[in-house]
């Protein structure tokens, strides 16, 4: 290498290293400690009918740490009022959404292309294995209301 370039190269490495470290995102990449609904679901706004997805009906709410990736998604007044906006899991994890909405609509998870009907009288449970990695938004389909995103990180 040209000797005249050596000093600028060293300076550039130092400056770039400092910039990269300073600009490092605050949150760690990959899933956080998996967040479940921390209290057992207290608000049961309506009696539940048998959920349309494959999961068994839930009669009583018990916080089960054996299946850690359980999320309650509650929609009220035109927006999501529960859970963080971004849910992070690892590829291969079991994921369970329990969706409650004050309007009749269709919950849709993009990418996985999973749909389930929700209504004020009927909450829904969506359970699936996070086989696809990436970032997938979920919405109330008819209202085109984007609720949040599921991020599935590779192993």
């Amino acid at each position: 290498m040209n000797a005249k370039l050596l000093l600028p190269l060293v300076i550039a490495i130092v400056v770039l290293g400092a910039a990269v470290v300073l600009l490092k995102p605050q949150r760690a990449d990959g899933p956080q400690a998996v967040v479940t609904t921390s209290p057992p679901v207290v608000a049961q706004p309506t009696p539940r009918q048998a959920p349309p997805a494959a999961a068994p009906a839930v009669d009583s709410i018990v916080v089960q740490y054996a299946t850690p990736n359980v999320y309650d998604i509650v929609v009220s007044g035109g927006k999501r009022i529960s859970e963080p906006a971004v849910l992070k899991v690892r590829q291969g994890d079991e994921v369970k959404f329990r969706i409650t909405s004050d309007v009749a609509d269709e919950f849709h998870l993009h990418g996985y292309d999973l749909h389930v009907q929700v209504s004020p009288e009927r909450s829904a449970v969506l359970q699936f294995t996070a086989k696809l990695s990436g970032r997938f938004t979920y919405e109330l389909h008819k209202s085109a209301l984007e609720l949040g995103a599921l991020e599935v990180y590779p192993q």
Binding site: A12, V20, P25, A85, G111, S133, G134, R135, T137, P154
Partner: protein, 492 residues
């Protein structure tokens, strides 16, 4: 006048009352790249830059020089068959008509609508990337130009132009249309019907402008897609030249890849701004829904405003949207300042008398490879997930249950690329674009600052520029993304 204002205000408020859609199509985004990849990608860019600079300087001092001129005179040129040119032109018009028709009559679901996928994904993304490989085929397929030429069969002087195209206007119309296009893409909440309406309006605009200012001038300076694809086409190893004879023949010649970016330079400040906007608009698209960016408003600006103004949440939400729009329009300034500052430094270190404006125009095209890979890294996933759906949709473009080509069940599940693959591809693409831009910038710098004494020093600011742009690009890809909850509460 009052009616026009009322209409404009109503439209604006209607647009504001919706959510901020991150993108017109597709809700499958990329994960932020891990910090390790971002850091090592930046380091690789830095090392590659120095290696290229060393190579270029050694080649110059050895006297071998770098071939910068295209092989225009000696290169083989092939005349394109007229039937091919005519069919390509007709295909362009057919695509436009189909997009409009399916926008009006097809599925109302944007993700299931043929016209939406055709325009935003196949045309907006697919044709862009294909152009980088095989050249500016849009010049042959431009439906609006073709319509002008078909109309000229009835009146040959129809698009000769009423007024002479003013030189000061430059490429500003194309830049303005580019900004409008990106605004619509990011904030417009376009549905199939509105896409059809936009395409009709754009058709009217092009025909009117071509009539007023002349077809040649308008499609050279004013029509957004013509300018855009002509720039991207300079990367490709194929160049299409229109023959001067009246039957509209085309010749195609081969050249070295990327050399097209050195053969010509930007001829107007507005074209430099256009290239800068290519960079900044994609950077903005990548950054504007990330947590740090959104936090600038909600943690920085909103508390100050809320303290001073007693207004409902919806009021601040509308200000937030206006802030995002303003930032998009001002985004070129950020990159322009970086670009001009480092060019000025290069000029200083090289003791050059060349005006900064001239230098800025000469180096403008060297930014295009980075702008293109910025675009590819953000959007190429959509080409797979949504673009593949066109195979299914083409059998049933109007969503009536047809199966014209037997593909109506193909790709019924969207293709989702593995996140690890996406990350590696993104970093590789950015590095590739970086290497090309660095090489071109240094070859250009040697032509512009030929004094051997200052050759090394003058290379460093250009190197810093490219490393900075690449690091910013990688950094944006690594930012955590917000999940779009900025939706106004349902209004009464």
């Amino acid at each position: 006048m009052r009616r026009v204002l009322t209409f404009a205000l109503t439209t604006l408020l209607l647009l504001l009352s919706g959510g901020v859609a991150a993108c017109v199509m597709g809700a499958v985004y990329n994960l932020p790249i891990p910090f390790g990849m971002y850091a090592s990608g930046s380091a690789a860019a830095l090392v590659a830059s120095f290696a290229i600079v060393a190579y270029v300087l050694r080649a110059q001092s050895a006297g071998s020089g770098i071939e910068t001129a295209g092989t225009r005179d000696g290169a083989p040129q092939v005349r394109m068959p007229q039937w091919l040119v005519s069919n390509l032109a007709a295909a362009g018009v057919l695509g436009l008509l189909l997009a409009i028709a399916t926008g009006v009559l097809g599925s109302v679901n944007p993700l299931a609508n043929f016209g939406m996928t055709l325009f935003w994904i196949i045309f907006g993304l697919g044709v862009t990337y294909v152009t980088a490989l095989i050249g500016d085929i849009y010049a042959l397929m431009n439906p609006w130009r073709t319509l002008c030429e078909w109309l000229e069969r009835f009146d040959s002087g129809l698009f000769r132009g009423l007024l002479r195209y003013p030189e000061w206007l430059g490429y500003y119309p194309a830049l303005a249309l580019y900004m409008a296009f990106i605004w619509i893409e990011l904030f417009g909440q376009i549905h199939p019907r509105t896409l059809a309406a936009m395409l009709l309006i754009y058709t009217g605009l092009n025909l009117g402008a071509a009539w007023l200012l002349g077809k040649e001038a308008w499609f050279r300076y004013g029509e957004f897609f013509s300018v855009f694809f002509r720039l991207i086409g300079k990367l490709a190893p194929l160049e299409y030249t229109r023959a001067s004879d009246p039957d509209r023949g085309y010749t195609v010649r081969a050249r070295k890849p990327f050399i097209g970016l050195l053969e010509t330079h930007a001829d107007h400040v507005s074209l430099l701004l256009f290239v800068i906007f290519m960079l900044s608009s994609t950077a903005f698209d990548g950054a504007h829904m990330t947590l740090p960016w959104v936090g600038i408003f909600w943690r920085g600006i909103y508390p100050v405003l809320a303290a001073g103004m007693d207004q409902p949440y919806l009021f601040f939400l509308n200000i937030y949207y206006l802030w995002q729009w303003a930032m998009l329009l001002l985004s070129p300034l950020f990159y322009l300042v970086i670009y001009l500052s480092l060019l000025w430094l290069a000029k200083l270190l090289a003791h050059s008398d060349i005006p900064l404006r001239t230098l800025a125009l000469r180096f403008a095209f060297t930014l295009i490879p980075i702008a293109l890979v910025y675009n590819m890294t953000h959007y190429y996933g959509e080409l797979f997930s949504q673009g593949a759906q066109i195979v299914r949709m083409i059998s049933d473009p109007f969503n009536l249950g047809w199966d014209l080509f037997g593909t109506s069940r193909s790709f019924s599940n969207p293709i989702v690329l593995d996140a690890g693959t996406v990350w590696h591809t993104q970093v590789a693409l950015i590095l590739f674009g970086h290497v090309v831009s660095v090489y071109l910038a240094h070859v250009e710098a040697l032509k512009v600052f030929p004094q051997r004494r200052h050759a090394t020093l003058s290379q460093l600011p250009m190197l810093a520029l490219m490393v900075l742009l690449t690091t910013i690009g990688l950094w944006i890809l690594s930012l955590p993304i917000d999940a779009g909850q900025m939706v106004a509460p349902a209004s009464a």
